[in-house]
């Protein structure tokens, strides 16, 4: 029979060994894992402007290439809810050590009060044209869903999107990521109507009319995810409105040029 002392000793030694091995592995690979994650996110952001990458495809670009391309052509700024540009210190104060917009963890921001959130904005310079890529997050059926929406310089026309999710059902909700035709449906749709009012884009259950600038086809069998996407767009893109308005006014008054 084993004494209590032996049992405690056995368990203690075993758990210490395990903890040592695992923490060693974790620390040793932490940096590379973080790089992998950032490249994964950058690829997703570039995926939203896939048509304007100069003939390249974000999915087939190598890791190094994605990194270099992103750093060269994309300007990133962090915004607060009033549309003010944040300095690196402010981003660090919000809890992100890197201090750049790309370090903002949307899932973490989602848990904060709406007024305290900070959001990243990526400005992609495609040569003749600039695209504004906004990041949105919302609720799917099972877990978070998020996406990057690329807007033309009029800040209303969508040129591309990329979506991802944490745990939607394959074949149903997961189609927002797996089905390449889903993100493509948003191309050419408009966030603002003719009168300049904010309307966002809705997912229409029975199928959107071809000429409807504010509606796309929904996903059959995935009502909750579709409603989530719609809500996420409606709420998430609006966060950027104050900043867009400030750019629009400076552009009009000609200060920027």
């Amino acid at each position: 029979m084993y004494t209590t002392k032996y049992i405690f000793g056995f368990v203690f030694i075993m758990t210490s060994l395990v903890a040592l091995v695992l923490s060693g592995l974790f620390m040793g690979w932490k940096d590379q894992s973080a790089i992998n994650e950032s490249i994964f996110n950058k690829r997703a952001i570039l995926g939203a402007v896939n048509d304007h990458l100069g003939g390249k495809d974000a999915q087939t670009m190598g890791d190094e290439e994605v990194n270099a391309f992103f750093d060269k052509n994309v300007k990133q700024i962090a915004l607060d809810m009033s549309g003010t540009e944040l300095k690196a210190d402010d981003v660090i104060k919000a809890g992100y050590k890197g201090g750049k917009a790309e370090h903002i963890d949307m899932a973490k921001e989602k848990k904060k009060d709406e007024a305290e959130r900070i959001i990243p904005l990526y400005i992609f310079d495609a040569g003749q044209e600039e695209f504004y890529i906004v990041t949105v997050i919302g609720n799917g059926l099972w877990d978070n869903i998020w996406g990057n929406i690329a807007l033309k310089s009029d800040m209303s026309t969508i040129v591309g999107t990329s979506f991802d999710h944490a745990g939607e059902t394959p074949g149903l909700g997961a189609e927002i990521k797996d089905n390449p035709t889903f993100p493509a449906r948003f191309k050419g749709k408009k966030i603002y109507n003719e009168a300049g009012e904010y309307v966002s884009v809705a997912l229409v259950k029975t199928g959107a009319k071809a000429d409807d600038p504010h509606g796309v086809d929904g996903i059959s069998g995935a009502t909750v995810t579709a409603v989530g996407v719609e809500e996420m767009l409606k709420r998430g893109v609006k966060y950027y409105e104050p900043y867009f308005n400030s750019i629009k006014t400076t552009k009009k008054s000609g200060v920027r040029n």
């Binding site: 084993y2 994964f40 394959p170 074949g171």
Partner: protein, 239 residues
């Protein structure tokens, strides 16, 4: 006195890979398959098999975890106090699973993102713990290791069969997401058979979305069990 006597008995030298090991490796592939015969580990078999590449990674991970947890458990089996044996087994499994998770995060990030939840769930995969309790606790390390690998392979084989069927009919591709990606049948010109091409014989064809849903895996596994039972007389109840 008794002790010395025992030591003098010379054990017959066993080959490293003898009949027993072969049986341990082969049995789980057919006669004692963890999924189709023991019906263990079905949860993950339904969930991850919609595409071949993630299933392959999952299968490799389970072979690794199953093999090495059996080996480690068997190595310390005489030292484990029976009161805490389940906890010890779980710690060993959880350690290996975490190693798999960290490795994927470091070397295969996209697939890690795709499999996150399921890799963690290997810990609760009944096959792994079942082998530890049923075999590794009572057998020598080498045999336990072979037994673990065998059961991992039995699980992986079913996973791959189901995944190949589901991916071909559900998505029209094979190994999507890996460097070996093959596009077989679909609606764009980069597919081998383009159903939208003019004059195509396959204009009527559309991918079957049911195959992407987990329910399809259940039907396929059911059919596999049926086929296996009708071919393998050992599995038929003679009662």
């Amino acid at each position: 006195m008794a002790e010395t006597l025992e030591k003098n008995v010379v054990e017959p030298k066993e080959p490293l890979f003898g009949k027993v090991e072969k049986k341990l490796l082969k049995d789980p592939l057919n006669d004692n398959n963890p999924i189709t015969v023991q019906v263990l580990g079905v949860c993950s078999a339904l969930a991850v098999t919609s595409m071949v590449y993630p299933s392959f990674v999952m299968a490799v991970a389970v072979v690794f975890v199953c093999g090495f947890s059996s080996l480690l458990t068997s190595l310390v089996r005489n030292k484990i106090p029976p009161q805490v044996r389940m906890i010890v087994q779980l710690v060993i499994i959880a350690t290996l699973v975490t190693i798999v998770e960290l490795t994927l995060k470091r070397f295969q990030y996209p697939i890690y993102r795709q499999l996150t939840v399921y890799i963690g769930l290997i810990i609760t995969n009944c096959i792994v713990m079942g082998r530890l309790e049923a075999f590794a606790m009572a057998n020598k390390p080498w045999r336990s290791f072979v037994d673990g690998i065998g059961n991992g392979l039995g699980y992986g084989a079913i996973l791959l069969i189901v995944a190949v069927i589901r991916e071909i009919f559900g998505k029209g591709s094979l190994f999507a997401g890996s460097p070996l990606e093959m596009k077989l049948i679909g609606t764009t010109p980069d597919y081998f058979i383009n159903t939208m091409a003019e004059g195509s014989w396959f204009g009527w064809y559309a991918n079957n979305n049911l195959m992407v849903l987990p329910a399809a895996a259940m039907f396929i596994i059911g059919v596999l069990i049926w086929i296996q039972r009708s071919y393998n007389p050992k599995l038929v109840d003679i009662s």
